[in-house]
């Protein structure tokens, strides 16, 4: 046990690396107004980090701030502040958490002050609420807003005319706005450089995610997965720091594969894995460790998840292509998970269950997010029908602790896993 613990501390250098990267980023954000570094607020799905970076600007991702606030126990008060200001109890708690944080001084998750945006880049990808979110933020800031409409893949593909629509908007609206805000000219060579780094990062991430095909799985692709996608979803895709982090992470994971070890969980290494699960939907952030523990205590490991694809579906082959800078950004935006129609999402779940040899799948349906949640009950039935594997369905929320009922969720998970065990025994 002691040896395992020591081994984990040694192998988890990537976590320390990530922590430092994020802290440095927020410190840099705090200094940005003094240093004259422009700041662009944007969203994770459809984020154009490489383009933003190529203009020397820094990205701020409000969802990341909201989830971090949830993990650090701050979201409850922020949500209350927003609801007191007239925001409905029915709507997305990420939005209310962000608005509440803003009303409370805009101190970011690491305790540093977040700068006001120089540009609100509304990448309208896979979530209706994004539109209202930035209309709401626009009321608070005196800065331009650029709207980038990413057509939904209603027919299960990004049609050529939709791709062209996205590239036209980037060329004609977004790039001029970035030039205006940053005072820099569009530098396509620099953009290509960042896109090349992005592709390299994506290769490493996919290797990490696909390592879960091993037995035991060296990673937890949901609870651990959200840490693994942290840098690529936030500010570091297309950067040298990002590449360095993912190289390190990959080497750690490959070492675990070679040693036949499982992932580190809140209770230590999970080498004895009795259940391999696929999970659909975002996690609850306010009781994240408690939620994870409900799985790890039962020796259940998540081998694939859809939530880790909201910032890009790299494991289905997409890579940023430096040879087609605008087109590749359009492809990226169009392919983010929540921009896929329900049949495509079901296909993805079925593929994961098959390719990762999962024993079961679970849907965590969050009250806040209709983009994910509407239709999940039908997804459950369709996946059950196509795989012959029964699924589990639990409900919680993103960052509103009022909607995390630990006893109910634990009961459901335990009952579900018992049922899976009984099925396996019967077989």
């Amino acid at each position: 046990m002691a040896a395992e613990k020591a081994s984990w501390v040694h192998k988890d250098r990537s976590m320390e690396l990530q922590k430092k990267m994020i802290a440095r980023h927020f410190e840099r954000l705090e200094r940005a107004p003094r240093c004259g570094e422009p700041v662009v607020y944007t969203f994770v799905p459809g984020n154009l980090t490489e383009l933003i970076r190529s203009f020397g600007a820094l990205p701020v991702l409000p969802e990341i701030n909201a989830l971090q606030s949830g993990m650090r126990g701050k979201s409850k008060d922020y949500i209350a502040a927003a609801e007191r200001a007239g925001h409905s109890e029915d709507v997305c708690t990420y939005v209310k958490c962000d608005i509440g944080m803003l009303k409370s001084g805009n101190i970011g998750p690491t305790g540093t002050k977040l700068p006001d945006p120089d540009l609100l880049l509304l990448s309208y990808t896979g979530c209706y609420t994004f539109m209202k979110w930035f209309e709401l933020l626009r009321e608070e800031y005196n800065c331009p807003t650029v709207f980038l409409q990413v057509p939904y893949q209603g027919d299960g593909r990004l049609a050529p005319e939709h791709r062209e629509y996205i590239t036209d908007q980037i060329r004609k609206d977004l790039i001029p706005a970035l030039e205006q805000v940053t005072g820099r000219s569009y530098d396509e060579d620099l953009l290509r450089h960042h896109l090349g780094l992005a592709a390299e990062t994506e290769d490493h991430l996919v290797a990490v995610l696909e390592s879960a095909k091993n037995r035991p799985s060296p990673i937890d692709a949901y609870f651990g997965g959200v840490y693994y996608v942290g840098p690529i979803f936030s500010a570091f895709r297309g950067t040298e720091e990002g590449v360095e982090y993912y190289k390190e992470l990959r080497s750690e994971v490959e070492a675990r594969v070679a040693a036949g070890l499982g992932p580190i969980t809140p209770d230590g290494p999970l080498n004895d894995q009795r259940f391999r699960l696929v999970v659909e939907g975002p996690p609850n952030w306010t009781s994240f460790r408690e939620f994870w523990r409900m799985f790890s205590e039962e020796h259940a490991v998540v081998v694939a998840s859809t939530y880790t694809k909201v910032g890009g579906t790299y494991d289905f082959g997409f890579r940023h292509d430096p040879d087609d800078p605008l087109g590749t950004m359009a492809d990226y935006c169009g392919g983010c998970y929540t921009n896929l129609n329900l049949p495509s999402r079901i296909d993805m779940l079925v593929t994961y269950i098959r390719d990762y040899e999962a024993d079961g799948f679970l849907i965590n349906s969050v009250k806040s997010c209709n983009s994910f949640s509407a239709g999940q009950l039908m997804m459950l039935r369709e996946v059950e029908k196509r795989t012959g594997i029964p699924g589990a369905f639990i409900e919680s929320d993103l960052v509103d602790p009022r909607y995390f009922s630990a006893a109910n969720i634990k009961n459901r998970i335990e009952s579900y896993l018992q049922m899976l065990a009984a099925r396996a025994g019967a077989a």
């Binding site: 997305c92 057509p151 495509s344 949640s373 509407a374």
Partner: protein, 389 residues
């Protein structure tokens, strides 16, 4: 029976008929006829009509339909409309539709398009991604291509490829429909005692399911009759209803608001029928004309991006002034993202201008109206006693 009550009774029958008898009647009149359904808020009915299809607005089952199968598709925190739409479909009441369109109103309707693809693979299903870029070069070109795709596809579904002339004729028909709707709204705004919203609303609902020619005939008869049979003027306050553009309130709620002492002088019920604020030109390319008119003249609504940073702040004051209203009632369906996320911005703008506001939530199957009566009645009294500032 008066001419007015004849029309209202006819509209009420259409409203109550969850079996869409009027649509079946039209389909059976001639072999080969087809119908296309669409969900709220906006669908280009001209395109559907030009392909020889009957456009049919699908607004769920309101308070008349017991939800049995629909609840199995949705969690408790999702609005009521999709579950009653699914209930209608699962009970076979929508089997007459050859196509179903899902406009980009919100993520719930968006995801329902995918569910429909799985539930009804034999039906043509299309997600209509409305343009948020409000310039003709980007948004206009995008929407024009979407409309051309829809025109082609529906032509294949109906077996009747629309010619340019067909589409121009349909644009002309829906121009008349919109003119009549706007005239009814004008009369109600200027003399709300002549056109109770309960009756106007029923006419609007009928217009969603009957052939446009039938609506024109009935609507014109109603308009004539209201002048011949004027209602009694009451000492009511004048209010604008905001937020009820998708899931519709039960008829009882509309009656309750008016009976509590509020003349509704503007609203966003079924707003898709008048979303285009200008006529679509019939000279030139009709598809481009439809697209351009949407880009340039779509009314401000929660389902579309507002490019003007001050747009949300000013919208309520503009609507209140245009309607000569005294206050705003924000009435949104529970769990309605577009209406509820917009509300803080709209309400702050209204209150900054000293416009009295109240807010409540409803569901299409709300059955108890006492709380709404008390709220609306108190609101009306407060306006009369203290005015807006």
């Amino acid at each position: 029976m008066s001419a007015r009550s004849d029309v209202v009774d006819w509209a009420l029958e259409c409203y109550h008929d969850l079996d869409f008898g009027v649509v079946h009647g039209w389909l059976e009149e001639e072999s080969g006829r087809t119908a296309a359904g669409y969900l709220p808020v906006y669908a280009p009915r001209e395109i559907i009509h030009a392909c020889g299809m009957l456009p049919v607005g699908i607004y769920g089952g309101g308070d008349q339909l017991e939800i049995i199968r629909g609840d199995a598709f949705y969690q408790s925190y999702i609005c009521h409309l999709p579950r009653s739409v699914v209930e209608l479909a699962q009970s076979g009441r929508l089997d007459f539709l050859s196509a179903m369109l899902f406009p980009s109103t919100c993520d719930v309707i968006r995801n329902l398009s995918g569910m429909w693809q799985l539930l009804f693979p034999e039906q043509y299903v299309r997600y209509l991604d409305l343009p948020h870029q409000r310039n003709t070069e980007l948004g206009g070109a995008f929407w024009e291509r979407e409309l051309r795709t829809l025109l082609k596809d529906l032509g294949e579904v109906s077996g009747r490829t629309a010619t340019e002339e067909d589409l121009k004729r349909s644009i002309g028909v829906y121009r008349e429909v919109r003119h009549l709707i706007l005239e009814l709204y004008r009369v109600r705004r200027e003399e709300p005692w002549l056109v109770p919203t309960e009756e106007l609303y029923l006419l609007m609902r009928a217009a969603e399911v009957v052939p446009p020619e039938t609506f024109l005939e009935q609507g014109r008869a109603y308009l004539e009759a209201v002048h011949a049979e004027p209602g009694r003027r009451r000492d009511n306050s004048r209010v604008v209803i905001v937020g009820a553009f998708c899931e519709q309130p039960p008829l009882g709620l509309i009656k309750t608001i008016e009976r509590a002492g509020c003349y509704i002088v503007d609203d966003d019920f079924l707003v898709g029928n008048r979303l285009l604020e200008q006529d679509v030109p019939t000279d030139g390319d009709p598809v481009r004309a439809l697209a351009d008119t949407f880009i340039r003249h779509a009314s401000k609504t929660s389902i579309l991006y507002e490019p003007d940073p001050a747009g949300k702040r000013h919208l309520m004051a503009e609507r209140v002034a245009a309607a000569g209203a005294d206050g705003v009632i924000f009435a949104a369906p529970s769990f309605c993202d577009p209406a509820l996320l917009d509300r803080p911005m709209l309400r702050a703008g209204a209150e900054a201008e000293g416009i009295p506001c109240i807010a409540f939530k409803y569901s299409e199957n709300s059955g108890q109206f006492q709380q709404f009566r008390e709220q609306a009645g108190t609101f009306s009294d407060a306006i009369k006693l203290w005015g807006g500032t």
